[in-house]
Symmetry: C2
Subunit: 428 residues, 2 copies
């Protein structure tokens, strides 16, 4: 990485604390990601992007701002990035996946709040996240109690526009959400000082649809057994999809897919034969949170699919680009986001159906439910997912954890027991 | 209490487990409530109602059902009881305030969920709550993540109609909520098989307004110093207001108020001079949860007001009965409930303003913030309340607890330290 000290200083980064963070990342990356064998060549780009996570990409944001553009930060897959792009902005996901300044954050937040929220405020308070410091606006949403109320506190530090996400999917909810999408569009227009035109919105829809289509193409390739790519590499790509340039990223994902398709045609794989295939289901794993994926794959299994926001929940649905006119296009965008089956909705049968579908389509041998401790929606919905899996005779393991490394031993033991059981069942 | 074995058996109550529960209540009541000195005579009625909590009042519900009426259970102050009454129903609050069958409940719910929800499912699973077993319908609401998702599980045991409460108070939210109020009215009409007429609705509004007006009259009397009534007795009345017959209850509260007003005129009090006056603020204290109120008052202080759902948040606002016609009346009901300043709303400046107002109006010496562990909205909003109190120079104590008795010693120590500090400040 080049010397970005000047840029970080201008952004108000606490250089000493930031140095500490940057020292931790490479060994973690080495251990969790680079140590894997048989990785596709196309992963080189993503390794590079990660190595420059606080460097080159941040420089692009800063340069974009210098040339009159805006940078908008989000925390959730419910915020329509199409609008941000159409208003001449860059959209960056700010969900935080590492324990930073937890004690400091607990001066504002209860101790019993999920690691993702605590980490987000920790990054802000410790001044070690050049992404949030680059943002002209943060866009929150009323998904869970924790985030909804956290945004009120965060707003004291930096302006947060909060979108109201309804809690059901009936007609009045759809109307409310369509209005919320328009309210965000207005706010973004105010921020950038330029109107969102139908052309720019249509182009943004094309760009984001292309990104999601590329991610879907990659997901399709994860059905291969033996596997063409590890779950950790796929997770890394999904995590990077939240902050990298969407056009460049799409090209790189497609190039990787071509490599994997060729590998598939020649009977190749990342090595070895069949591995027990795990569906990871539940809360998002924000970068650099690879803890559970690494535990599963180090135990000899494969994460074949991620039913989470840093997985297929992010790219499963496209915006209908057949919409005619601005109003229809805005509705199409709103409707696409209402399809997301996050546990914050009640009832949420779509998610149960989707988990079952993934289990069938991806040849899943076991489901690992990943719950961030204190995440109300996902910890409660776990019961319904578990019951459905039991009905299918599908092994199910519920893991509740946070960002600490203290429970790695205990989690590993439980995952290994699951994988062993599945392995024995495979042979029987 | 008479012998209600037959009635309980018909309701499907587990008699052995229920006996266990009924053995625990009288000593708890004796210790927390009856042991107080100088109680007003008017409390006799409430002592009686509590002594018959699973007897006489349940018999009234059963008799009401036998004569063709319905019984509808609620968990939250956001459910318009006017509609239930207008449809010929009896409305009973089902929030549960004691630890029952927690282990059994944890087979369905995460361990880290608030005591109120865990207790509610515990009562259902253990079959020891004749109220829930009497209900023809349960009405939930999308207030917090925990309850919202819990209702999906509870619905497997008993039908739950869920009202969608919006999360902001803008115009689209108001519209959505007005529709939700109408949707509930329709469901109640279906249930009872009779139309809600304008007359019956107007009468129900009158009944519930009268109940809230009586509670407001009592609240007004709590401004007296030295006190005319203890915080625990006032809390008990508020708790009983969720399940007793509203017309009879209103009479009894008014009679009590007359007694207190006479006492006030003659310079009487519950004994002693000024006691440090505490505002309890936060989560609801469902019956028989008197833990924190008892700790505070045993430390020599007085709970002068409760800024909670089992307190002034329940009765602060009345329905505007000037509304002309059915449609306006339904809107007036919807609008009244949207005024409630629960922490589930974002932003929620009304609550901060109200806490400050109560501190001034009730001559408050210290605020005790009562947070149920794992309650996202109230534990996060605590930060804002604390900051406002610090700005006013108001002593503030944050207590996070559950329904167990294990932390009573620790809580008492902290409360005593607060009261001592306030006492010293008083003398200075």
């Amino acid at each position: 990485m080049a010397d970005y000290t000047e840029m970080w200083t201008e952004l108000g980064i606490d250089l000493a604390a930031h140095d500490g963070l940057l020292e931790v990342l490479p060994p973690l990356y080495g251990e969790s990601i680079l140590s894997q064998e048989g990785r596709p060549e196309g992963m080189e780009y993503f390794d590079f992007v990660f190595s420059e996570i606080h460097g080159l990409r941040v420089k692009e944001l800063v340069d974009h701002k210098k040339s009159g553009g805006t940078v908008v930060g989000t925390f959730c897959t419910y915020v329509p990035e199409e609008l941000i792009i159409a208003a001449g902005g860059i959209c960056v996901g700010l969900c935080a996946g590492a324990q930073v300044a937890a004690e400091e954050a607990e001066k504002y937040l209860p101790r019993n709040i999920c690691a993702l929220i605590k980490s987000s405020l920790g990054f802000k308070l410790a001044k070690v996240c050049p992404y949030i410091e680059s943002c002209d606006l943060l866009v929150g949403e009323t998904t869970c109690d924790g985030k909804k109320k956290y945004y009120e506190i965060l707003n004291d530090f930096q302006p947060v526009h909060v979108m109201e996400l309804p809690q059901r999917k009936a007609d009045p909810d759809r109307s409310l959400w369509r209005e919320e999408v328009r309210r965000l569009a207005e706010r973004l227009e105010e921020l950038s000082g330029k109107k969102i035109s139908e052309d720019s919105l249509r182009e943004a829809v094309r760009v984001v649809n292309a990104k999601r289509t590329a991610l879907l193409r990659l997901a399709e390739l994860r059905k291969s057994d033996p596997p063409l790519i590890s779950g950790r590499d796929a997770l890394l790509i999904n995590q990077i999809a939240f902050y990298d340039d969407p056009v460049r990223l799409t090209e790189k994902i497609n190039a990787l897919c071509e490599e994997l398709e060729a590998r598939k045609d020649s009977g190749g794989s990342i090595g070895g034969a069949h591995r027990p295939r795990v569906l990871l289901s539940g809360c998002p794993m924000a970068i650099p949170n690879w803890k559970v994926a690494a535990i599963i794959e180090s135990s000899g299994a494969l994460v074949a699919m991620d039913e989470m926001c840093t997985g297929i929940r992010y790219f499963r649905h496209l915006v209908d680009d057949g919409a005619a006119g601005m109003d229809e296009l805005l509705d199409a965008i709103a409707d696409r986001y209402m399809l997301i089956d996050c546990a914050v909705f009640t009832p949420n049968p779509e998610r149960l159906d989707h988990v079952k579908e993934l289990v069938r389509d991806y040849g899943i041998d076991a489901v690992v439910y990943y719950a961030l401790q204190f995440c109300g929606p996902y910890t409660v919905e776990a019961y319904k997912v578990k019951r459905e899996m039991e009905d299918m005779g599908m092994p199910f393991l519920y893991l509740e954890t946070d960002y600490s490394s203290e429970d790695i031993g205990q989690l590993s033991t439980r995952v290994q027991a699951l994988i062993e059981m599945v392995g024995i069942a495979d042979k029987a």
